[in-house]
């Protein structure tokens, strides 16, 4: 049988390509702030701050004037007859969704980012 001996062939493994990522030692990352200088990450960070401020300010979240708003969805009531999807509630939900989305994106770009305690990673969907 010809197994092993005499059969000169090339390994199927491609040559080890140099890794494109430059790994900084951990202590350097903290020092340099590393990826925080990425303009995209900066933009995401400032939007995140803006949203967090809005959510905590207690001011009305939807301040568009009457004429500039799109039609409201059908009202939904809880079993006490209190409306659930008020304008305020919907605006809050929308900002919360955007906030979670931004945090996910920052984490994707910077795995060392420490998300706020109330951040829940999105459920993976098949």
């Amino acid at each position: 049988d010809g197994s092993g001996t005499g059969r000169k062939r090339k390994s199927r493994w491609a040559d080890d390509e140099p890794k494109p990522v430059i790994q900084l030692p951990d202590f350097m990352k903290d020092f340099a702030g590393g990826i925080e200088f990425d303009p995209e990450v900066q933009a995401l960070n400032s939007r995140l701050l803006e949203i967090s401020r809005k959510l905590q300010s207690g001011l009305p979240l939807d301040d568009r004037p009457e004429g500039a708003r799109s039609p409201s969805p059908e009202p939904i009531y809880d079993n006490m007859g209190v409306r659930i999807n008020t304008r305020e509630y919907r605006a809050r939900e929308k900002l919360n969704r955007e906030r979670q989305e931004i945090i996910s994106q920052i984490i994707k770009k910077n795995p060392a980012f420490k998300p706020p305690a109330d951040y829940r990673p999105p459920k993976l969907q098949k």
Binding site: G4, S11, W13, A14, K114
Partner: protein
């Protein structure tokens, strides 16, 4: 958070067993000579990262029945250091033109011969 990050690693926390996916096709595995070549290539390359104790490449059954784990390669190292080095070194490397995906695999499943996961 450190724990969270650990869990978010591909394939969960490091184990001694590494699973390479997207590596070989069922056709290549059917041919005895090709199969030997693949085993040899794996043994040489993967042995560079640590002490390899076990190498399993599930082959398709001759009767055409589906076999779990076909297309994957399982590598067991003596320690997590070896498997971690291999995970770092092999993930993204090309084997036969395919970019390899290397993830840690449950040691229990592996020892029970369960290659489904």
């Amino acid at each position: 958070i450190a724990l969270q990050r650990l869990m978010l690693q591909p394939g969960g926390p490091p184990t001694k067993v590494l699973c390479l996916t997207n590596v070989v096709s069922a056709d290549e595995l059917k041919d005895d000579e090709d199969y030997e070549d693949i085993v040899e290539d794996m043994r040489t390359e993967c042995g560079k990262f640590g002490n390899l104790v076990n190498l399993v490449i599930p082959r398709p059954r001759p009767d055409g029945e589906p076999t779990p784990g076909v297309g994957k390669v399982f590598l067991e190292y003596t320690d997590v250091e070896g498997s971690s080095r291999a995970q770092q070194g092999l993930n993204g490397r090309k084997f036969g033109g395919n970019p390899v995906v290397a993830v840690f695999y449950s040691e229990n499943k592996f020892s029970e011969g369960d290659y489904e996961g």
